[in-house]
């Protein structure tokens, strides 16, 4: 990434003639460098995920997970959730398809949690902004939470909390499929389209997020957040989780801001769980899930998620 770094510095100090040490120059330097790096990464990773997705279809995942035992089933579901993002509007058909094919409830939830938390945009933003170590931590923690929360939900035997129509509605009227096997070239074409679409959807959020992050970098005093969100404030972790859970936002816009907060003193564990609770569940998503499961199950899900995030946050603030 050295070339990109040089390019950012060149634009700011040579082309624009700004002075080193000027906070605006520093903010701009960050902005140019981060944006270029992230767009390159985003394009590459979404292309790869787009191609992988043509191989791992929801139908294959469903059949693979049907009638699995709790434990291994949760691990497999959380693993399969990583390369298979889905749009929020697919939550209901996915949920019903899984349940009706015999995928246990808790295993279905492991998939439904891992997929949005460990999504390609979040990974790109983390890789680009905070390095591979914290990205690996984020993926690892997201994975463990998806497994554990799904497992606990399964063990609580909440099958009575599934809405009646999920089990009774007609799920197949025998529509035929265009059975052609895709060629590799077609798969790459699909991946490319996906990549174009995702970049088109998130580029503005990335610019705004990095812009705000760059301003924090350039203007907020060193250790500004140490007092409020540093490791010594015991309330920082629960507050971060409570803020993040209902918040509807995308990783593209929030991760650059969280990264800037970290640079100004927010503890790593607190920052990690803030990002995770933002991606894991949001208010609109809960409303969608409420159509297929009853309020009690949703409340339990949110509670288990919140408790796991808080535990993880404290744990990492202690060891990091």
């Amino acid at each position: 990434m050295g070339v990109l770094e040089d390019f950012g510095a060149w634009v700011v100090y040579t082309l624009l003639g700004m002075v080193k040490g000027d906070p605006l120059a520093e903010a701009l330097d960050f902005f140019i460098y981060d944006t270029l790096k992230i767009f390159l990464l985003l394009f590459a990773i979404t292309l790869i995920v787009g191609v992988i997705r043509t191989y791992i279809t929801p139908e294959k995942i469903r059949d693979f997970l049907a009638h699995r035992k709790y434990g291994t089933g949760n691990v497999l579901a959380a693993l399969l959730g990583i390369p298979t993002p889905f749009c929020t509007c697919s939550v209901i058909p996915l949920f019903i398809g899984f349940i009706r094919a015999g995928v246990p409830l808790g295993i279905t939830f492991s998939f439904l949690i891992s997929s949005p938390v460990i999504n390609e945009v979040a990974i790109v933003m983390l890789l680009g902004l905070v390095g591979w170590q914290i990205t690996a931590l984020y993926i690892g923690i997201g994975f463990v939470i998806a497994v554990v929360v799904g497992y606990v939900l399964g063990r609580l035997h909440l099958e009575d909390q599934i809405e009646e129509f999920v089990l009774t509605s007609d799920v197949n009227k025998g529509v035929s499929r265009d059975g052609k096997e895709l060629t590799f070239k077609e798969r790459v074409g699909i991946g490319f389209e996906e990549s174009k679409r995702i970049v088109g959807e998130v580029w503005l959020y990335i610019l705004i997020g990095i812009g705000i992050g760059a301003l924090i970098h350039g203007y907020a005093p060193e250790d500004f957040f140490l007092k409020y969100a540093g490791p010594d404030n015991p309330f920082a972790v629960p507050v971060a989780v409570l803020i993040g859970i209902p918040l509807y936002s995308n990783a593209a816009g929030t991760i650059p801001i969280v990264q800037a907060l970290m640079a100004k003193g927010m503890a790593t564990g607190t920052a990690l769980v803030l990002m995770m609770s933002i991606t894991a569940l949001s208010f609109p998503q809960m409303l969608i899930l409420r159509k297929v499961v009853k309020t009690k199950l949703l409340a339990i899900l949110v509670a288990i998620l919140a408790v796991s995030f808080i535990v993880i946050g404290y744990l990492f603030n202690m060891v990091l």
Binding site: P58, S90, V175
Partner: protein, 82 residues
């Protein structure tokens, strides 16, 4: 062969999220590009969507056959399917 407009039935399945709308736009553009006419049906009720046995929206159905699911087909791809 006499071309009869409107005898192709295209269904776009999706609950009305931005992705589904984009697929529908692409379908309309593709029809224009191909110079064809078709009946476009939007299926937004998720119970109805489920009945197609799909789990991933948006879905494109042409003459009762599922052509693609869980992704937005490009205009050119749709043109080739028409």
């Amino acid at each position: 062969m006499i071309y009869q407009g409107g005898n192709v039935r295209i269904e776009v399945l999706g609950s009305g999220c931005p992705n589904c709308k984009r697929l529908e736009e692409n379908v309309r553009t593709a029809l224009k590009k191909a110079g064809k006419d078709a009946e476009i049906v939007k299926v937004t009720d998720f119970r109805e969507i489920l009945a197609y046995g799909v789990m991933h929206t948006p879905v494109l159905v042409i003459d009762g056959k599922i052509m693609a699911e869980g992704r937005i087909l490009s205009v050119d791809e749709i043109v080739r399917m028409l």
